[in-house]
């Protein structure tokens, strides 16, 4: 089963680039014989380029030229050009790119209404072409940031479009939310306008906050430089690493942060690509983690952040991996799932971990977690035999948990601060198709969502009253 990825905007494409790089490395490490297999096919086409770029797809046999199943969309050329000049240039062909020159000016309306309208046909055509090459299209992934103009506006336009054109295909969105200190003043407007679209058109959203990524990067940096573990950390095992250089952390923190997101996306699809004793496909994630259509925001955590070089892994360390997955400082947004309410939780384990390890840890951690009354044993688990490069095992936890609420409340507060003063509104309202109602509807949508989480939180710790069962005449 195949997924198509849409990297939209500067952030989306920078993360996308890291993703493709890591994906190639992962497959290269596993696929020693260079055979084009089902696993590769979920991310890449295999094209016969001997007669030029328009060669036919090769479905079996040796790898000829791998092309990413993706569309790269940006209204500025800088990032996409960098990708096309870099080591991954052969992974993309011109038919997969949609670019412009002037950017969206950090304005959601420019991205969504102006560029959306302008590029709609182009995007649909390229989308259809790319989809034609997929013999079983299961999922769309959109990677973007919420705070700017292109990723946020055009990204959510693409989301709408995908629902129109391929309503049956799952839409997963990885959204980078702006922090309070974000240097884009209008990021709250852009984010709230985008949230409405995510509420209504996404199947699953994985929210990410830069603050959390930054904290993780710093933690690793400190670990390595503190001298405590320095030399014993396996360089290529850092969840932040690309070429495995620890220098990256200091000099290019965004690369390191983006690698974390890229690893998240890789791990998310690992059980669909590689064999294991309990497979977890992408459609199972949305099935199990979305109990009500609008409550589809999943908080993610990745462990371990690095592996120590000693090969001997006692089960205590394995158990530590599970504990860390629930700790505040491993979450990819500023959230504390342990003190909020779980609607559902998924654990995707990779490597030499067996069902008894899973069960032992679930039993151990369950008492300290709060699950909603109708889903007291709400665990979805997957076991994939193939670990990530540089690790012997890893864990991805996805939580549908009310701990997302603070992120949304803060976003609403920041929005209201600007909106009350009507600050910068004219930049939006002057765009064709934008009206005051777009804003009021968007904030209303966000408020409703927050209210749904509030209602659930209100049930936390309350008395458990099981509904009475059906009575049967004897």
């Amino acid at each position: 089963a195949v997924s198509l990825r849409f990297a939209v905007g500067q952030c989306g494409n920078q993360v996308g680039f890291r993703f493709w790089d890591l994906a190639l490395r992962e497959h290269a490490a596993i696929n020693k014989k260079g055979i084009y297999d089902e696993a590769l096919s979920s991310f890449f086409r295999n094209v016969d380029t001997r007669s030029g770029d328009n060669g036919p797809d090769i479905y079996k046999g040796k790898i000829c030229s791998l092309k990413a199943r993706a569309l790269l969309i940006d209204m500025e050329e800088g990032v996409v050009n960098e990708i096309l000049q870099g080591p991954l240039r052969d992974v993309f062909d011109s038919k997969q790119l949609i670019t412009d020159v002037s950017g969206s000016g950090n304005n959601w309306a420019v991205g969504h209404k102006i560029y959306g309208c302008q590029y709609r046909e182009n995007i649909v055509e390229k989308l259809r072409k790319t989809a034609e090459h997929c013999d079983c299209l299961q999922c769309f992934f959109i990677i973007h940031s919420m705070g700017g103009g292109t990723g946020s506006g055009l990204g959510t336009f693409v989301l709408n479009l995908l629902e129109d054109e391929f309503p049956e295909v799952y839409r997963f969105v990885t959204s980078v939310y702006p922090s309070g200190e974000d240097d884009v003043i209008t990021s709250p407007y852009n984010s709230v306008l985008a949230m409405k679209e995510l509420n209504e058109h996404a199947d699953c959203v994985l929210p990410i906050e830069n603050e959390s990524l930054f904290e993780i990067v710093n933690k690793i940096h400190q670990m390595i430089n503190s001298g405590k573990l320095g030399s014993t950390v396996k360089q290529n095992s850092l969840v932040t690493s690309s070429a495995g250089s620890a220098k990256t952390l200091q000099e290019k923190p965004f690369d390191a942060m983006n690698n974390i997101i890229a690893n998240l996306l890789l791990n998310l699809t690992s059980s669909a690509r590689f064999e294991g004793s309990l497979n977890m496909d992408l459609n199972e994630i949305s099935m199990n983690l979305v109990p009500f259509p609008r409550l589809h925001y999943l908080v993610s955590s990745l462990t371990p952040l690095y592996t120590l070089a000693d090969v001997n892994v006692p089960s205590r360390r394995l158990d530590q991996m599970f504990s860390d997955a629930f700790s505040r400082d491993h979450q990819l947004i500023q959230a504390d799932p342990k003190h909020s309410l779980y609607l559902a939780c998924a654990l995707l384990v990779r490597g030499n971990v067996q069902v008894s390890d899973l069960r032992r840890n679930i039993e151990r951690l369950k008492p300290s977690l709060h699950f909603v009354s109708w889903n007291q044993e709400g665990w979805k688990t997957g076991l994939c035999s193939v670990p990530p490069v540089g690790h012997s095992h890893s864990l991805l936890a996805l939580a549908n948990n009310t701990c997302v609420k603070p992120t949304f409340i803060e976003l609403k507060d920041r929005f209201m601060k600007l909106y009350k003063k009507k600050a910068h509104l004219h930049h939006y309202l002057q765009i064709d198709g934008m009206e005051q109602s777009c804003f009021s509807e968007a904030i209303s949508s966000l408020s409703d969502l927050i209210e749904e989480y509030n209602e659930l939180d209100a049930t936390k710790g309350g008395p458990r009253i099981d509904p009475s069962r059906l009575k049967i005449a004897v």
Binding site: A1, E38, S277, M287, L347, W374, N375, R469, I472
Partner: protein
């Protein structure tokens, strides 16, 4: 008579592979402990039941493999082939590219009708290879989407296409925590549908088998493979050839029919549990000896007290006083009432075994005479390196509590309407859920009032 096995979904295909491996390894072994003639007869009977011959001489499993994604079937095929001792036919599998998403409705209402023709075509071909078709054995879990939903659909198709054949569904019940969040919905939908089209449901619970792996087999890091191998051993202990009571001198020629006749006297009661004794790590076998009286005493108490294995049995539980007709509400607490039981004995000295303890009328409901409620099958041919082994297949209250627990949890979730949109999207409406709950509450009530 031959049995056609239909392996459905990841669980079904993983277990199916272990079952054929276990069967094959058992007949290849030289630990039969019986006469050469007996051994050959056993060998031939097993081959006829489960395998066809190929030119190369490698036995080919009489199986159809079905899954909605390719990875598991691909592994099963290659693992079998690389064993060198048996294999699957290269033309007996059906898979798609994209699973069922743990969605019963997707398996039942979408994949089922869409792929019915292709799947039933494969089944028909396998059935035609049998000189005499003894029935179908399906293997599935009820927690996921394919085994459960598509499995329920295929069972219905089997019933429609083969109205006079026996259908036995082997159903794996998931761990209470930590497999699939919507497992209780999928289970309720599966069990209620299977009840309409299957002859009997033979159940294994992951939690129970896990305990066996931990406490009896001493496995430290238990994998699904370990669990599946225990299940395969237990299934092999039921399905390998035996002599039935009135069967004359040869091995039983109608194992599924015999099973149904022994255990399913009434269509309302189709749930069968399975116990096997002894279970131990292979390297301990050489150092252990058992006596039949000891084994059977434990097995009987496992039945009475509803114990999953020979350790930790509650010996305090006793059957009600014989001869008195006691309403079910006054029966001793925790006592497991049986409708019918089947004990299968394999190995040394089986003919001298005293099974009186299982014929005690106080173990049973009053509907059948004890001689009709209890059956025994035997063979002097030892199974899977165990000098003596006994299995119990029981139609009793074994599964009452687990069933009630699953229905309770599903109902709790249903009352909040959580996840329902995922099912209605594929055509299973709330009314259908209600029908299924009603069916199962009826089954629970029936078993409770034994």
């Amino acid at each position: 008579m031959s049995i056609v096995t239909v392996q459905l979904g990841q669980c079904g295909n993983q277990i199916g592979h272990e079952v054929f491996s276990a069967l094959c390894s058992d007949i290849r072994g030289t630990h039969g402990l019986c006469s050469k003639k007996e051994n050959e007869s056993y060998h031939d009977s097993c081959r006829e039941r489960f395998f066809t011959e190929e030119e190369s001489g490698v036995p080919v499993a009489r199986a159809v493999l079905v899954d909605m994604e390719p990875k598991v079937i691909s592994q099963a095929l290659s693992m079998a082939a690389s064993s060198g001792h048996w294999k699957y036919s290269s033309h007996s599998h059906f898979c798609q590219k994209q699973g069922s998403g743990n969605n019963w409705a997707n398996g039942f209402s979408v994949h089922g009708p869409r792929h019915k023709e292709a799947i039933m075509d494969l089944v028909q071909k396998e059935a035609e290879k049998c000189e005499r078709l003894g029935g179908f054995f399906t293997i599935m879990s009820m927690a996921g989407g394919t085994g459960s939903g598509l499995g329920a659909f295929v069972t219905q198709c089997l019933r429609d296409a083969f109205p006079t054949s026996f259908i036995l569904n082997h159903v794996v019940w998931p761990y209470g925590t930590g497999e699939v969040i919507v497992q209780n919905y999928n289970s309720v939908l599966t069990l209620s549908h299977l009840y309409q089209s299957s002859d009997a449901l033979l159940v294994h619970e992951n939690d129970a088998i896990h305990k066996i792996c931990a406490q009896l087999m001493n496995i430290k890091q238990i994998s699904f493979r370990d669990v599946n191998q225990v299940i395969a051993h237990q299934l092999g202990s039921v399905f390998q050839p035996t002599h039935t009571a009135g069967g004359g001198s040869g091995y039983s020629r109608n194992p599924l029919g015999d099973l149904m006749e022994a255990l399913v006297p009434h269509p309302e009661f189709r749930l069968l549990g399975l116990r096997n004794i002894p279970q131990m790590p292979e390297n301990s076998l050489a150092y252990s000896t058992f006596s039949w009286p000891g084994l059977l005493k434990h097995l009987r108490q496992m039945l009475i007290a509803n114990a999953q294995m020979e350790e930790g049995i509650d010996w305090q539980v006793r059957p009600p006083h014989p001869g008195s007709s006691i309403p079910s509400t006054n029966k001793p607490l925790h006592f497991n009432t049986s409708i019918a039981n089947l004990v299968i004995l394999r190995g040394k000295d089986v003919h001298s075994v005293d099974l009186g303890g299982f014929q005690d009328p106080s173990l049973y409901t009053s509907w059948l005479k004890p001689q009709d409620a209890f059956s025994a099958w035997k063979t002097p041919r030892a199974f899977n390196k165990y000098e003596k082994s006994a299995s119990l297949v029981s139609n009793s209250q074994f599964l009452l509590k687990p069933l009630d627990s699953i229905v309770g949890k599903a109902w709790n979730m249903f009352a909040s309407k959580a996840y329902l949109h995922q099912y209605t999207k594929f055509g299973i409406q709330e009314e259908e859920f209600l029908d299924c709950f009603t069916t199962l509450e009826q089954v629970i009530s029936s078993y409770t009032n034994l």
